[in-house]
Symmetry: D3
Subunit: 286 residues, 6 copies
């Protein structure tokens, strides 16, 4: 019996950094959340709940144990200073990208997507975005702030420009956001029915996938900051990830789990399965 | 900086009474509830939660801000005296109807529909009822009481008679209620698939719409007095309201939100979106 | 006014043992649960919640009051001794079978199915199993234990052998379990679409039906030990029971309700309706 | 193995009616509750939780098993008709009193005390009341109603008159109620420090004891309709009951447990221990 | 029946601004909270719960209805920008002070005390602070931030200097904070036993009172951001406020109610009573 | 930036095994729990919550950072096999004792004390036990099982014999247990008032301290398997630990945290502070 320091990783992510092709890490930030805060607890709860999950996916017939995966833990972010937090996330993700690995981030609120995506974009200038969400997140600013969970996709748009963002499941926003989308992004409202068509179109172009879990219906995912009834089912999510698995994914994140708002634990269980499936979708293609 | 008394209204209902075409108000009554009480808290929670809602509906492509709407607050009802409570609701609704406006009530248990409907019926003698609910509410009486949440549609039937009540989504009741419906009302069990057909038939006849939110599946709406699995989805509700929006609606209500039985807050969020959509359905036709 | 001892039975199960054709009883055991314990509270909560349920089913157009049904209460099982508990359940069920009645058990974790099924199998050697579940439960052992909630169907297989177990809705397990199923059982993954076909094939062969409620999606049934998103809907369950009602059912159980993990009460309400419908499915054929 | 109907009684209350000296029963009524309803669930939860309780009290060094006690179950009361409900409680309690036994009622809201007390008063005209509560309950009426949880002690006063009601722990009410108490009752505000002195004064006069559990601090008893911080501790309650045990108690009740408002289960556990101790206090003197 | 816009104020605060001597308002800010966010919901929940409270205090034998009190509502603060939020609070409080009224603020996290206190200090240069709290809040900075909930009293110290801050109930902090207190403030650890002595010493000097509700034990006040067992009881709080009522209070606040972390509602009820008593303590002296 | 595997330890326990004098570890076992299971989650929740705790204790004026402490993680125990689980705990603790370090265990149910204590007893034959608990745990067996949470102290008695067990705070049990205690142990019922006297008597004899957290009142510690109102306060616990800190402690444990039964998080926060204080009490003496 040897006494080692207590290690806690996502189940199936027990490999060393150097040998791994994908690095999962948490970004526990909820500083600009406008309604119910608490996504700061998302990464911690997801890692803990992951212990109860099988590494085998009957959806993709793949097993996490067949891949080399590293868990970088959660970044220790300061409270109340958005700029510093975003920079720390950027630095962390940048290192992973520079080391030739794929960053896979667990949020936190949606704003954390910006620095992670930016680090990916700097390596893959032709990257496009697949965006699953209940909200358009296309505001120019929110209550005067340019960097907000409600404007994060607009900030990504500032980086990459027109016709390179594909949005699915959007069912809430201001009229202006829907108008902006008509001109500048691809948007399927309410559903994820056209994702296979888009996948066929994107082909081998590098893709950054960002999944705001509130695209799911609150019946299956109530544990989030802003509840929007009318979302997609878990089975539709599985189908969408299967489509996505055909793409060349160079970065990904899963955001907006706020576990304290779901006493049953369902939301965290859902987040874990989405993470498992999306990780398998990313690495199985490599 | 001017110091005014703190005003609290449904978001988008900031106009004056005189200029408004629709008046929303709460009827916090749960006196005859036989299982889990608590719909008395429905109106208060709905108004509060409404702050987090956009005024724009991507379902109907309409915005509350384009209409003149007044919030009359919640009626202060006594406890333990059904007769007095029903009379107070009647008086409140009657005034709105007499002033040429449309009453839009938020319950409370389903029995509150009776006085509101009665005030509408006295002006529109040819009015018909669209009734969305898990329960038939057609009992002659309930434990000896003629006026009960379980008999409210039967009491409305007493006013308007045969073939003028259209019931959808019914999935619970005694055998006698289903037999009564066969003779006297139109009833679609379990689903809301035929509502478009009924809308085509009703045409311009004045309509009173009463939505008991427990028609929704408890997966999306657990916060109610009597849980009945097997209900419709939120998307089916949205589709039904879109159909209804073609009608000439002269009164409406949304009842049976019991927020304390849903710690996640989902039920209240659902109630708010149903209220927003139904209000838009009512006023957009005028 | 006569003062009798307080009797508490499932609503509609007020008949005497001798005259009844079906006996419902609870098996409050959760000793091998590996994640969230608490199904020990299932039988007690189900009986209590049943009071709020109508005895009439609009799904099957049948009424519990038209049948002779007995409630045997919950077996008082010891804590921490699996062998003794299983033996007590076996004895209880055996007596019912020997008296020519149908045992209908409410769990408890899934392992309780083994002793109840064994007592039925000893009378009906040609019995087959209909198994609705999220999990395959086909492990040879679990952490060294042969008798576990995760191996219960494998133990039943040990009794009856190949091609006599029909599994539906399975969406979680180890790769080995899915491989075992390919060789030895009929398994439909994720869905219950082929149950009608199987019913046609089984015809009059005696059937034991075991429903692990976690086959349902956690949106409608979060109150269980292991949450598996992606399950079937309540309506699909109702349809499956309707199919099953054509069979010659000689024993049945409904397991894995863990009420403390669902503060809204939805899970217990769901369990009660499944019990009502399955009981009606069983007795209506006799 | 004999199959009897499932019997559910308070642990230790398994004797027959005829031989018992004390009869416990539930009065699940909350019709005039003005804030949070739900005490209707109190009797059912208390009986269930009682299974986990030892029958031995280390406080009084007495054991329920040494006494003959009967559980009469819960009265099935109608909803929304206060008069009928109060009459049914009166009839039930009256029979117990007439049969020479002591009625011990579990509420329900405090108004249920009135009919039970009335039945006792009709036999013992010189009866006095020991009243433990957070609220004075001395209003002449409440929102126009004479019979209300907020006026129940005033109604008892109407029956027995001045200087026969002893109130302890009162910490909330209108100024008028405190003024009324100065003239007409004995009242110790906030504490139960003088109860021993009062017990010495009362001596052998017949006593009706009514304990509104909200006299306890909400830290230990949050599960009640109206939360009033600043109450007594559980240990002070135990000490008060020990004092009371020296009295000649001819009727008693414990009211205002609302279990849904305490997800931890503490309030129900507290109610059960208070019931056990007060029952022992009553019967040990006989 | 006249139809006015729905007004929502603290019960007993229905007077006009111009005539009132005290102005209550909410500061829903939780931007620097380091553990569990959510005090942003405190002011809204407190106002709502206040409806259930009597205006009469049996502790002080005073009634809110005997005073002229105004409710200014809650300031609409931006998310994620601490500087802007603090300035808005300062402006609001400054106006109240300049108009010769006493500001009474409901938080929000403790950092909101800084701008409110600053506005008071600018008028009363000799003001001292009474500080009730579980935490010293004396850090020079927290994770690099000078303005944080954990440094707010240190920032107040920067304004007024040595020996003018009186701290009670402190039971958590870093060793450095306790050392700082020894040199620069008066601090009673764990208890509030010496407050009467301090009141005698302060005499007529203007006082700003800030109550961080987490000074209370979590048994009675779990609904806060950082739980610290070992706090004072509610009765000790009442006694402390009675002592404070002898002072010349020129500004006050009650902070750190986080209602979502207390499903029983006890914490909000406690906050409301503390607000009622402290308001009465402030205005009764004028 | 170096990428290491994610390490998760109790805050302040970051030292290496070899250099440490005390080793903390978790024993997540709840196999014989008779009422509400769930203490298996205790160790995981305690470690996680510990992050929010200061390492400095104002009670003892000591800081965890001044000591060499190692966190050995949680033992991975099987489900449903008590013997195997107890042996694994014994082996783990035995190694720590043999290496000359002090084992400090976090439960789990109280039965885990037996193997840990046994390993200590084998080294220190003259060891005595300080036992803080609501329950006597002195049953000869429980439902036929000799090794049960309800008999664990009796099993320890079997090892060390008469007059070497000191019990405090006991307030629940069967009459036989209290009688046994009179003959064989020192027992203070309800309170911990005599602990200082006992400490003076024990002097330098080696001591094993076992704290069942349910000795605390459920107002401050509801998150446990069996709720027993009437417990000690947190301040009394702090005082008791201060007394204990004068002893020569050679082994210790803190058991019976069941975090799922306390949605507010208070119980876990309490457990963490008790752990911090008791660890400091143990190591400060060395």
């Amino acid at each position: 019996m040897k006494m080692n320091k207590n290690i806690s990783t996502y189940m199936g992510f027990e490999d060393e950094y150097e040998e791994s092709s994908l690095v999962i890490f948490g970004a526990p930030f909820d500083g600009t959340t406008s309604f119910r805060p608490g996504t700061r607890f998302g990464p911690m709860y997801a890692r803990q709940e992951f212990y109860g999950l099988e590494t085998y996916s009957p959806y993709l017939d793949l097993d996490l144990e067949d891949y080399l995966l590293f868990d970088g833990g959660d970044i220790e972010l300061p409270f109340g200073n958005t700029d510093v937090a975003l920079n720390m996330i950027y630095d962390f993700s940048k290192k992973i990208v520079c080391d030739g690995k794929i960053p896979f981030m667990v949020g936190g609120e949606h704003l954390v997507t910006y620095p992670s995506f930016k680090s990916v974009f700097e390596k893959y200038n032709d990257v496009v975005i697949i965006h699953l969400d209940a909200h358009a997140d296309l505001r120019e600013d929110y209550l005067g702030q340019k960097f907000s969970h409600a404007s994060v996709i607009r900030r990504a748009f500032d980086l990459i420009g027109k016709n390179r963002i594909y949005q699915f499941g959007i069912r809430s926003g201001e009229r202006e956001e829907f108008n902006f989308a008509k001109e500048n992004t691809y948007m399927e409202k309410f559903e994820v029915n056209t994702i296979d068509m888009i996948v066929n179109k994107i082909k081998n172009t590098p893709v950054y996938v960002t999944i705001d879990l509130d695209i799911l219906d609150p019946s299956i995912f109530p544990g989030t900051g802003t509840i929007e009834p009318g979302g997609i089912t878990f089975k539709e999510m599985m189908k969408a990830i299967k489509s996505i698995s055909r793409l060349n994914i160079v970065g990904a994140d899963v955001v907006e789990l706020s576990p304290h708002y779901d006493s049953s634990g369902t939301s965290t269980a859902v987040a874990c399965k989405v993470i498992r499936e999306l990780v398998l979708a990313v690495v199985s293609k490599k």
